[in-house]
């Protein structure tokens, strides 16, 4: 079995009487895509927020690359090597595609306290940024302002920024959202290859994509992980069929 890079132990989060995360223990291993599925309101976004530092868990631990990161800020987690993409694109809309990606390289390489040198003239950062843009197929849009970029382009851009950080693991919140079937297919192929660079914890509504991509899947219902296993195991799990997949069929 491959080494575990990201692990949560008994992660619990309450919002008043609502238990949004109920003793969630999941892990992400090197080389895999771990799909996280569950009906609306199951607590997927709450879980991601805790893993990325936006929300503080009431109890439980998060371990990343052998370090307890439960008390880390979002920025320290990013520095430690957690790359994230958002369900709703979080981008600097007034800047160009290239500027957004260069920001990622500044985060990774340091040098944010350089007040004088034009950042786009720093070859090293620029090349690194263009490399990431080529990886996601956005190189020809480098000079486009993000506000003029298509929805699909923005999803790709999010991934490109995450790539510049050279992360040890990706946490992706619905990267296919709103992509359409063509875009979805392209993104699926892209993520399929990405797992060799860093494992992905993938939250996704697009079932076809999740089942095609995932090495393992965890099913979250009402804040609880009711099953974790291979694609076949999940397909055939009675509880999952009843609680989740059964809804649609």
């Amino acid at each position: 079995m491959n080494k575990t890079i990201l692990k949560t132990y008994n992660l619990t989060k309450n919002f008043g009487a609502l238990r949004a995360s109920d003793k969630i223990s999941i892990d992400l291993r090197v080389g895999e895509i771990h799909g996280l599925i569950g009906p609306n309101g199951a607590g997927k976004t709450t879980l991601i927020a805790q893993i990325m530092g936006g929300l503080k868990p009431d109890s439980g631990l998060i371990e990343f690359d052998g370090t307890d990161i439960t008390s880390f800020t979002t920025e320290s987690r990013a520095q430690a090597g957690l790359g994230r993409t958002f369900q709703i694109s979080q981008l600097a809309m007034d800047q160009t595609v290239l500027q957004n990606v260069v920001l990622g390289t500044v985060g990774e390489r340091g040098g944010v306290w350089n007040f004088w040198r034009p950042v786009l003239a720093i070859q090293e950062l620029r090349e690194r940024a263009m490399e990431s843009l080529s990886d996601v197929g956005l190189a020809d849009k480098a000079a486009t302002p993000v506000s003029e970029l298509s929805h699909g382009g923005r999803r790709q851009l999010e991934v490109a920024i995450a790539l510049t950080l050279n992360p040890k693991a990706f946490v992706m919140d619905e990267p296919m959202a709103g992509l359409g079937s063509d875009g979805s297919k392209k993104m699926t192929i892209f993520l399929d290859n990405l797992r060799t660079r860093a494992p992905i914890l993938l939250v996704e509504h697009d079932m076809e994509a999740v089942f095609a991509l995932s090495d393992r899947i965890s099913v979250l219902v009402s804040g609880m992980v009711i099953a974790t296993g291979s694609v076949d195991q999940i397909r055939n799990d009675a509880r999952v069929r009843k609680a989740y997949l059964g809804e649609g069929s």
């Binding site: 920025e75 800047q95 920001l103 985060g107 007040f115 950042v119 510049t164």
Partner: protein, 329 residues
């Protein structure tokens, strides 16, 4: 430099700032030079605020604090120099000074320290709360200066002779003007460089989306705080020059109306545009002079202008004249 419409406009404004006072010298109208100096110093104050407001999105309604601190730094040092009373005798003897090259760095350091403390506390909040906290700090300094009778209290401090600068006769209006204009140009250059630097990129991203900045491993709050300190230091330097122009400092330099005026310069000219604060300050001083001569209610016209600009041009007058900013080169 690429010849964009914005660059041409900036060049025209710069040329105007050089030529108008020269013309005033030739036709012997020293008051025009005083007006131009006033416009240039206000521009500098607004260039300072524009770094916080335009680049960093920090709506500070307390920038008069730095303007006033710069002014009082100059005023207090000059007061001690002209009265031959040392500032401190213990632990070391510190006397007042009339040297601009000593006053300026001190004004900037004191403003920067104040900006650091105010920023540290204010940046814990955002939006309307940020505006209110900066305003509250402004009022604190305002009332403190009123009650500080050692330095004139409500009446302010008069300075008999303008401060000195090596090789320059600062009492000649055009020479003092040249100093102020040179500083403004230097500040604009620094502003332009800063905007394009790694820091400027991160600051601008922090204005637009703090989540984005955090998730590339950068701390938006410390980036904004540093910008706020730079911003305060520049506005503080403007305050020191303003006190020298008028040879007078008073609590009105700390007033919230002044904070508002500095912000109005930027809104008229164009938020975040390099020459926005300059154009805004020039228009303000011009209107103040000509309309102020016609009616004491001239601010009504200014209000009307402000309203029209806010309603019809998001980029202020610079945006109206040259269109949207080019985000890429």
């Amino acid at each position: 430099m690429i010849l964009t419409r914005e660059n041409i406009l900036n060049f025209v404004i710069t040329a105007g700032l050089i030529l108008v006072p020269i013309y005033a010298v030739i036709v012997e109208e020293p008051f025009t030079i005083t007006l131009a100096t006033r416009a240039v110093i206000f521009s500098l104050a607004a260039v300072g605020l524009n770094i916080a407001l335009g680049l960093g999105g920090m709506v500070s309604l307390g920038h008069a604090v730095f303007f006033g601190l710069g002014g009082y730094t100059m005023g207090i040092l000059a007061f001690h120099a002209q009265s031959y009373i040392p500032l401190f005798e213990w632990p070391i003897l510190i006397e007042g000074t009339k040297q601009m090259l000593v006053v300026w760095p001190l004004a900037m350091i004191i403003s920067a320290i104040a900006a650091f403390v105010i920023g540290l506390l204010s940046l814990r909040t955002g939006g309307v709360y940020f505006i209110m906290i900066t305003l509250a700090f402004g009022q604190m300094f305002f009332f403190f200066s009123i009650s500080w009778s050692a330095y004139g209290g409500e009446d302010g401090l008069s300075i008999y002779v303008r401060n000195q600068f090596p090789l320059v006769n600062t009492l000649v209006p055009i020479q003092f003007y040249a100093i102020c204009l040179a500083i403004l140009m230097l500040a604009l250059w620094i502003n332009a460089r800063l905007a394009k630097s790694s820091f400027g990129l991160a600051l601008s991203a922090a204005r637009q989306n703090t989540e984005r900045v955090r998730n590339v491993g950068l701390d938006p709050t410390s980036i904004k705080l540093v910008a706020f300190v730079i911003s305060g230091a520049i506005t503080g330097l403007a305050g020191a020059l303003f006190a020298d122009l008028n040879r007078f400092v008073s609590p009105t330099m700390f007033s919230w109306q002044l904070s508002g005026e500095i912000m109005v310069f930027i809104i008229i000219g164009g938020i975040g545009r390099l020459y926005g604060p300059v154009l805004g300050a020039i228009i303000f001083v011009t209107l103040e002079h000509f309309l102020g001569g016609i009616s004491e209610y001239w601010l009504v016209f200014l209000g009307l202008l402000l309203l029209l600009i806010v309603l019809f041009s998001r980029g202020g007058l610079v945006g109206l004249l040259v269109g949207r900013e080019r985000v890429h080169e």
